[in-house]
């Protein structure tokens, strides 16, 4: 575990110095939200549409920034030193910790900007939305991390990442969008329990599969 935390701190310090992911994520958020605002103009948006747009922006921002954690190691050639000195489980755990923190930070900013810029985006049940936000972000971080590891050794990384991520993240995004609609409607946590359990199952399955699969991805 100490090794995994060290990899997380290494990535965090590296990110602060190189800004590999943060810059691309920040640019994407600014551009995506600006395009939505310009195209919508004064047209009134329904609350459900803003929920869909929120998770669409979150999905594509994950696609633009989260692959960097493995891709930058591969591009700079530092992959090998990690393979020599760290176990696959520690590498995956460290990278997952980093991506989880990044997802939470970026998605909190996106959600904050949505609530400031879109008057229709009003959450009536904040507790439900918070639970959905946490579970959803963790699911996105796990899926994105393992897919980033898969595509890091491929040629057309930029194209492959969203293509591989789309079928994996689609069920999660659909449920998250549905649950965000529930929290906009003010439904209680009890009423949304089935959907919440689906997300918990998704997170557990993705985490288990990723840990089991990572050994094979990490080695030749």
């Amino acid at each position: 575990m100490k090794s995994a935390i060290s990899i997380f701190f290494k990535d965090w310090k590296s990110e602060l110095r190189t800004r590999y992911s943060v810059n691309s994520l920040a640019m994407f958020i600014i551009v995506a939200i600006s395009v939505i605002l310009f195209s919508v103009k004064d047209e009134p948006l329904s609350p459900y549409l803003t929920a869909g747009l929120l998770w669409t922006v979150i999905f594509f921002s994950a696609m633009s920034g989260l692959s960097r954690t493995f891709v930058s190691e591969e591009e700079r050639g530092t992959f090998l030193i990690l393979q020599i000195i760290a176990s696959p489980l520690n590498v995956f755990s460290g990278k997952l910790l980093f991506n989880t923190l990044l997802v939470f930070l970026i998605n909190s900013i996106i959600t904050l900007l949505f609530s400031l810029l879109f008057s229709a985006f009003i959450i009536k049940n904040i507790y439900l939305f918070t639970a959905v936000f946490f579970l959803g972000n963790f699911g996105i971080a796990v899926s994105s991390t393992v897919i980033a590891a898969i595509i890091s050794k491929a040629g057309a990384k930029g194209t492959l990442y969203p293509v591989l991520s789309f079928p994996v993240l689609l069920p999660l995004i659909l449920i998250l969008s549905e649950l965000t609609n529930f929290s906009i409607d003010g439904k209680s946590v009890e009423e949304s329990l089935t959907e919440i359990l689906v997300i918990i199952c998704y997170d557990v399955i993705m985490l288990t599969v990723s840990v089991m699969l990572f050994d094979f991805i990490w080695k030749d």
Binding site: K2, S3, S6, I7, F9, K10, K13, S14, R17, T18, R76, G77, T78, L80, I81, L82, Q83, I84, I85, A86, S87, N90, K219, D220
Partner: protein, 210 residues
């Protein structure tokens, strides 16, 4: 003195249809310097990577034991030091940060005294706080050698260790290598006669192509 042994049993490696080597057997059973020699493309680096656990063999097994305790392939990372020109450290960190951070990632307590002693020996102590991006390729190679040696690990692999080193660097490396060989099993994959002259046993890769 530490008791370490590394052995291979019927080791084969192929990439697709091309066999790199077949039926490779060896036993290195005590600390010392051992060599892997062969022409370019004969599989020296492939064998070094298989011993270090980075690559899996197509057939056969590698056995490693430290003080009669068998080391599982999943745990070999904690026991191995590795230096090669194709290993890349993090340019955005200083040399000292790299050495400290990578030791902690390896799960080893960072020994600052040993690290500083080796930095001094290699003439890099004064520049230890400079980013690695400012280092020349020879200085980077020195840092990789320091990292492989600084934790006194039982197994150390050097693949083409003197690449990019100047004559002073080679002299320091050979002197420290002899000291390190008292407690560690050192494997050198190289074509350099000076490297191989230090080895007590040498695997000739061409002997395992057919």
């Amino acid at each position: 003195m530490i008791n370490i042994s590394v052995s291979a049993e019927n080791l084969c490696k192929n990439f697709g249809r091309r066999f790199v080597f077949k039926n490779l057997n060896f036993i290195f059973d005590k600390p010392g310097i051992y060599g892997i020699a062969g022409i370019n493309g004969s599989g020296k680096t492939t064998l070094a990577k298989i011993i270090s656990g980075v690559l899996s063999p197509s057939q056969g097994k590698i056995y490693c034991s430290v003080n009669s305790l068998k080391i599982n392939p999943e745990e070999i990372q904690k026991y191995i030091g590795y230096a090669a020109p194709y290993v890349v450290f993090y340019d955005e960190f200083t040399a000292y940060e790299n050495l400290k951070m990578l030791s902690v990632i390896q799960g080893i307590d960072f020994n600052s005294n040993r690290c500083e002693k080796l930095l001094t020996e290699f003439g890099l102590y004064e520049r230890r706080n400079e980013h690695l991006s400012n280092y020349s390729s020879g200085m980077k190679q020195r840092i990789k050698i320091i990292f492989a040696m600084m934790n006194n690990l039982p197994l150390i692999i050097f693949d083409e260790p003197i690449t990019n080193l100047d004559s002073a660097g080679k002299e320091i490396f050979y002197r420290l290598l002899k000291q390190q060989a008292i407690n560690s099993l050192i494997i050198i994959a190289s074509n350099e006669e000076a490297d191989l002259a230090l080895c007590s046993k040498i695997i000739i890769m061409e002997n395992f192509r057919k």
